[in-house]
């Protein structure tokens, strides 16, 4: 708490308030474009952070090459924003447009490919070094407010954000084009019916949204600069703002940005350690209290959601069962064919397959997309590691305890999450996962913090790589078969029923929330099971097993494998892990991986297993 004379204390708090407001403005500028794009196109655009980064770099180089002066400074910023907007147009017309009618969340996959590509392209174009942005000419000083200094540029930001807010409002409510945009936000089918040229509208909105992202990146130059980490650093915060404000609501985004800005400005005065979690805590609270965000309306469906899964589930035919048996035998004979590193990789694939299968269980049949599944996988790893570390539990018991402990966590998180649906549910899972992560990260005395827990090796009998491979294989196949069995059991059918029509399940006496809650807990338990084994395969555990990127990895494994087939998660995790391993040897591997992701999305929208099924499925029927 500040120790200042009374006279200056008021100024101190006022300046702190203004500082929070200026942070909020910077946040709003990134988030409003994201919100706009979500509102109209209904896509979760992970590449928004990349546009932000490119905006910052472009503006820096433009300004550096322009003559000096205020005019050229602002011209550089605007030009950078427009250039990013143009990049947005190219991406929308060449890539995203092909995917609007692909299965749900496939665009997420594609936009993540863009993130990877932009990572490496930026490194190539702009260099590895961090860049400190230029000061704004004429605004490089500070002003004195009641004895406390505030940078002039903060004032600029505080003014610009509301101006953009008003500008957007004017555009959306007072221009013909804006009215069309709003119509598309509120009722897509109606705007379709009114004969709006949708593809031009989408391109326009994507251009505007990308421009705003670029502007956000460019305008923060005097407050920071440009570096290769800023894309992923901003994207989580931007999503939090969009979700807290209500997806698609621009005023909501501003309100959320202000709340987050002020909360962190004053939060650091009271709890300096709160920096990691404050935002996500706020998001969790808001979503529990107001499921559609502060100013959001009832949820618009995510792109393609309506088209999701109308295929019936058929139990495997005799031929398929034989094929599965052959595969199983092959897996058990693996140690003969592959070297010991091959076994390490196979062990990892088996564990990821079980984890992604558990995610598939709630995503496919359950219709609940989780962005935070790594919390359960990593939670299992930590549960096992902690019991071993503190209670010297033998491996066998730790592997059993891990899913139980994680199941308990999933039970609590699930209770809140199943009340929501769609993107809001996904974002709440993300928030919960991030809270779990920050507990593990921050509680260093108990969990080892980011130094992790080391020396968690298997029992002596299982320490041989081949033995451990067999152990993992048996446990994972058992887990996968169990989940598969659940899908064909009454519970799995009920879960699908809940996904298909909540109206119908309600009118045949089924408690939807309770079944989904149960499913969520079950999925968490199985992910925890996989995590519990995983820790013994690695020998250590670190908070990054619970972090957001790992959650997305699981999601991508499922999408890669194909969301419509039961075999998808297995094929996906194998392909994903193998691809990662093969490509990581190359210098610009992110670029290549990104390209491959995008190509896969376009060429095989049904995923690997799905494509095999559509092309070769008829040969396997009885």
């Amino acid at each position: 708490m500040p120790k200042l004379e009374k006279g200056i204390l008021l100024g101190f708090y006022f300046v702190q308030f203004l500082t929070g407001l200026s942070d909020a403005s910077a946040l709003f500028l990134v988030a409003c474009g994201l919100s706009l794009i979500f509102g109209v196109l209904r896509i979760v655009n992970l590449a928004h952070g990349s546009f932000y980064m490119v905006g910052a770099y472009l503006a820096y180089y433009l300004i550096a090459n322009f003559p000096q002066g205020a005019f050229f400074f602002w011209a550089g910023i605007l030009l950078a924003a427009l250039t990013v907007g143009t990049i947005g147009i190219v991406i929308e017309t060449l890539l995203l447009r092909r995917l609007y009618y692909a299965p749900e969340l496939f665009i997420l996959f594609a936009t993540f490919g863009i993130v990877l590509i932009f990572q490496d392209l930026s490194r190539w174009f702009f260099g590895a070094e961090d860049i400190l942005g230029q000061q704004a000419p004429g605004l490089a000083g500070s002003i004195d407010i009641m004895g406390v200094l505030l940078p002039q540029y903060d004032v600029v930001l505080i003014v610009i954000a509301p101006l953009i807010l008003v500008g957007l409002w004017f555009f959306l409510y007072r221009t013909r084009w804006g009215i069309l945009v709003r119509a598309a936000t509120e009722d897509r089918e109606m705007s379709d019916a009114l004969g709006v040229n949708q593809s031009r509208l989408f391109t326009g909105v994507f251009f505007l949204g990308s421009c705003l992202a670029g502007l956000g990146g460019a305008i923060q130059l005097p407050k920071g600069g440009a570096n290769l980490l800023m894309d992923l650093n901003i994207i989580a915060a931007a999503f939090v703002v969009v979700v807290v404000g209500g997806m698609g609501s621009i005023p909501g985004a501003y309100l959320a940005a202000v709340i987050i800005g002020e909360l962190s400005a004053f939060g650091v005065l009271i709890f300096p350690q709160s920096t990691l979690v404050l935002m996500f805590l706020l998001m969790a609270v808001v979503l529990v209290m107001r499921p559609h965000g502060l100013l959001g309306n009832a949820e618009p469906e995510v792109q393609g959601a309506a088209k999701m899964s109308t295929a019936t589930l058929k139990p495997a035919s005799k031929k398929l069962k034989l094929l599965g048996l052959a595969l199983l035998i092959l897996l058990f004979m693996m140690p003969v064919f592959v070297g010991s590193f091959g076994l390490v990789l196979m062990t990892e694939i088996a564990l990821f397959a079980l984890a992604s299968m558990s995610l598939y269980f709630i995503m496919g049949p359950g219709g609940m997309v989780s962005f935070g599944h790594a919390a359960f996988f990593g939670g299992g790893a930590y549960a096992a590691a902690l019991t071993v570390h503190y209670m010297q539990t033998p491996m066998e018991l730790a592997i059993l305890l891990a899913p139980l402990l994680v199941g308990l966590v999933a039970l609590i998180i699930g209770w809140f999450c199943v009340r929501l649906s769609g993107v809001y549910l996904a974002m709440l899972t993300l928030a919960c996962a991030q809270i779990c992560w920050s507990i593990v990260f921050q509680w260093g005395k108990f969990t080892g913090g980011d130094d992790g827990i080391l020396g968690i090796w298997p029992s002596a009998w299982a320490s041989d790589k081949t033995v451990f491979y067999y152990l993992t294989l048996i446990l994972c196949i058992g887990g996968i078969m169990a989940l598969r069995h659940f899908i064909f059991a009454p519970f799995g059918y009920t879960l699908r029923a809940c996904r298909d029509s909540s109206l119908r399940v309600d009118s045949i006496g089924i408690n939807r929330h309770r079944h989904q809650w149960f499913a969520f807990t079950l999925a968490g338990t199985f992910a925890g099971f996989a995590g519990g084994i995983y820790v013994f395969s690695k020998g250590n555990v670190f908070p990054d097993v619970m972090a957001i990127p790992r959650s997305f990895d699981f999601l991508f494994m499922i999408l890669l494998g194909g969301i419509e087939t039961l075999f998808g998660p297995i094929a996906g995790s194998a392909a994903f892990t193998w691809l990662h391993d093969q490509i990581a040897r190359i210098d610009y591997w992110q670029l290549i991986l990104g390209c491959i992701f995008i190509l896969l999305v376009i060429a095989f929208p049904d995923g690997i297993a799905g494509s095999i099924h559509t092309r070769l499925g008829r040969y396997f029927e009885d």
Binding site: T310, T312, F488, A489, P490, G492, Y493, R496, I508, I510
Partner: protein, 249 residues
């Protein structure tokens, strides 16, 4: 005859709009009661109130003598109420058979079972119901690809799985051809008689209403303006004026 459904002084308003105003009626076993009225008369609201999807502002609803105000649809269902929807609501990722099995699983409280396999549960019962509604040849087709008229029949089979005492059918014949309408209503009529239950349905097709209903209720702007046997209602002046009047002129 036993009174299956009793509605007393039901009121419901949405903001300023009074959707249902002081509606009272009762339905006995073996009866087919039609609820008619122009668009926006409050029929669907009435259904949703009885079904439990909405809470009444005032008044009470008794099903089999038990007050169900404020009960959730799933609890109302457990009392023996089946429902079909104006816009069919089935599980598109399942076959007809599986749709009916779902209802039977719920009826037998087996939905949380993890160990059994659906393909072996209640198949015979489900097939019997599917046969009853006359779509046995479609049993293994996915509801996602079924014709609209067949979906209506699926809904009926699903609703019957619970051995309901009361069937709520919102526009049961919408989207069907004339012959199909007759078929479905004949079927419903015979089920009502064999199963000793009551049916409340809404309908736009006046021929269907007057051919099959034992009693008719007429709603207009939320108010009940007439109730009685079909021929009586047909003669009611007010009904003629505001509802049939448009048809006859």
């Amino acid at each position: 005859m036993a009174i299956i459904l009793k509605v007393q002084n039901l009121h419901k308003a949405f903001g300023g709009l009074r959707a249902v105003v002081d509606v009272s009626f009762q339905l006995e076993a073996g009866q087919l009661m039609a609820m008619i009225g122009p668009n926006g008369a409050g029929k669907s609201t009435c259904f949703n109130l009885i079904n439990g999807q909405l809470n009444p502002d005032q008044g009470s609803i008794f099903i089999m003598g038990q007050k169900v105000n404020g009960e959730k649809p799933r609890d109302v269902w457990k009392l023996g109420v089946g429902r079909t929807f104006q816009i069919t609501s089935t599980f598109p990722s399942m076959t007809v058979l599986e749709n009916v099995q779902m209802s039977l699983l719920s009826h037998n409280r087996r939905t949380k079972s993890l160990l059994t396999n659906v393909s072996r549960l209640y198949v015979a019962e489900a097939m019997a119901l599917i046969d009853l509604v006359g779509i046995a040849d479609q049993a293994h087709r996915s509801c996602g690809v079924l014709a609209y008229g067949d979906l209506k029949r699926v809904e009926l089979a699903v609703a019957l799985a619970n051995q309901p005492k009361l069937l709520l059918m919102d526009e049961p014949t919408a989207g069907m051809g004339p012959a199909e309408r007759q078929g479905l209503m004949k079927l419903t009529e015979s089920i009502v008689h064999t199963r000793e239950m009551g049916v409340l349905f809404t309908e736009h097709d006046m021929k269907v209403v007057f051919d099959y209903a034992n009693r008719v209720i007429v709603l207009n702007r939320g108010k009940m303006i007439a109730a009685g046997p079909p021929d009586e209602v047909q003669k009611n002046n007010e009904v003629k004026k505001i509802y049939l009047g448009t048809a006859s002129s």
